[in-house]
């Protein structure tokens, strides 16, 4: 029989997968991210439905308890996500600097000179 806790966790997994599909349809996430997300939550659902399955996998890796394996995996996942967020933040930070720089130079009347611009844009490519 399925317990209340299992039912709750399963509905969380279904909800998460539903949201992921919705985001994919709205082109908020890539197909790769969607697959990864669905895979993760399917694994989660399998472990919730068949708690013994995690023990088998854990034993394969030399870990005695299934819950320990789940804990280790989630910590690794969270660290990975944190790092991804840091990298993205760093990129955004640098992009903001580029915008602030462009505005600052324009305001100071230091737009690139025509001669310097011509070096970058070959003749004929000008709009």
């Amino acid at each position: 029989m399925i317990s209340v806790a299992q039912l709750f966790l399963l509905s969380v997994a279904v909800l998460a997968m539903g949201v992921a599909v919705l985001w994919f349809r709205q082109r908020k996430i890539s197909a790769m991210a969607l697959l990864l997300w669905l895979f993760l939550w399917t694994g989660f659902a399998v472990v919730v439905l068949f708690p013994k399955s995690s023990v088998v996998l854990a034993h394969l890796l030399g870990i005695s308890r299934g819950t320990d394996l789940a804990l280790y995996l989630s910590v690794i996942l969270i660290l990975f996500i944190l790092f991804r967020v840091y990298v993205r933040l760093e990129q955004v930070d640098r992009q903001i600097t580029q915008i602030v720089r462009a505005v600052a130079l324009r305001e100071a009347g230091l737009e690139p000179r025509e001669s310097q611009r011509a070096e970058k844009i070959p003749p004929g490519d000008k709009p």
Binding site: E90, R94, T97, R101, A104, A108, L110
Partner: protein, 229 residues
């Protein structure tokens, strides 16, 4: 020769006026001097004071950190046609006489980049700062393979071609080490020149303390892991 002195400044209203006056009065024969103050989103009167002292003020709408400000200053200097670019701290810790010393190797064609090193004669430097600077040099060497006597110096000089080639991506203090790394990557001829450091209570309160230094190290390590784009 056209010389651009870049002063990145964030909330430096107490020191910036005097720093500009000192740089203006520095005797540098053969150079046409232009001072560029990058007002890095200051909330005080830094910009107004710098303008009234006769500097060209380039204003960041948002505070971006010393790295972002230096990048803007160098770009401004290049667009103004500078032949030699000097960077200088806004807190008054550098002596204006030392500008002549850092641009000499470039003027004479001996170097593409010059580091004004506070560490060659560091007797006047407080012990904690001396230790911190040695550690910073070590980190720069380990992480970026760049050997230098003063990786964290704010007083540097670059030839026009060196300034054009150096790519600055760091926004904050890790820019100092990044510049050392760029000098190494581009195989620029670099000379370390001894300079004086004027330690006042004010200049000690600015710059990198222990916590900011640690954060700089952390950011430097992470920047090694992140693809530069």
């Amino acid at each position: 020769m056209k010389l651009a002195v870049i002063i990145p400044a964030y909330n430096e209203e107490f020191a910036i006026g005097q720093v500009i006056q000192e740089v203006m009065s520095a005797n540098l024969p053969g150079f046409e001097k232009k001072i560029i103050v990058v007002n890095d989103g200051s909330k005080d009167k830094t910009g107004e004071i710098a303008r009234s002292e006769g500097a060209l003020v380039v204003r960041h709408l948002l505070n971006r950190g010393v790295g972002g400000a230096l990048g803007t200053g160098i770009e401004a200097a290049l667009r103004m046609g500078a032949d030699v670019v000097v960077t200088c701290d806004a807190d008054g810790q550098h002596s204006p006489d030392d500008i002549g010393r850092v641009i000499e190797p470039i003027q004479s064609g001996r170097a593409d980049a010059v580091t004004g090193s506070r560490m060659i004669d560091s007797t006047a430097m407080p012990l904690t700062r001396r230790i911190a600077n040695h550690l910073a040099n070590l980190a720069t060497w380990v992480l970026l393979a760049a050997k230098t006597t003063d990786s964290q110096s704010g007083l540097r000089a670059f030839s026009r071609s060196a300034a054009q080639r150096i790519r600055i991506t760091a926004n904050k203090y890790e820019v100092c080490s990044e510049i050392c790394g760029e000098i190494k990557r581009l195989h620029l001829r670099c000379v370390d020149v001894p300079i004086k450091t004027i330690y006042t209570d004010y200049s000690m309160s600015k710059g990198q303390g222990f916590r900011v230094g640690l954060r700089t190290l952390f950011r430097l390590i992470l920047s090694k892991l992140v693809k530069q784009s």
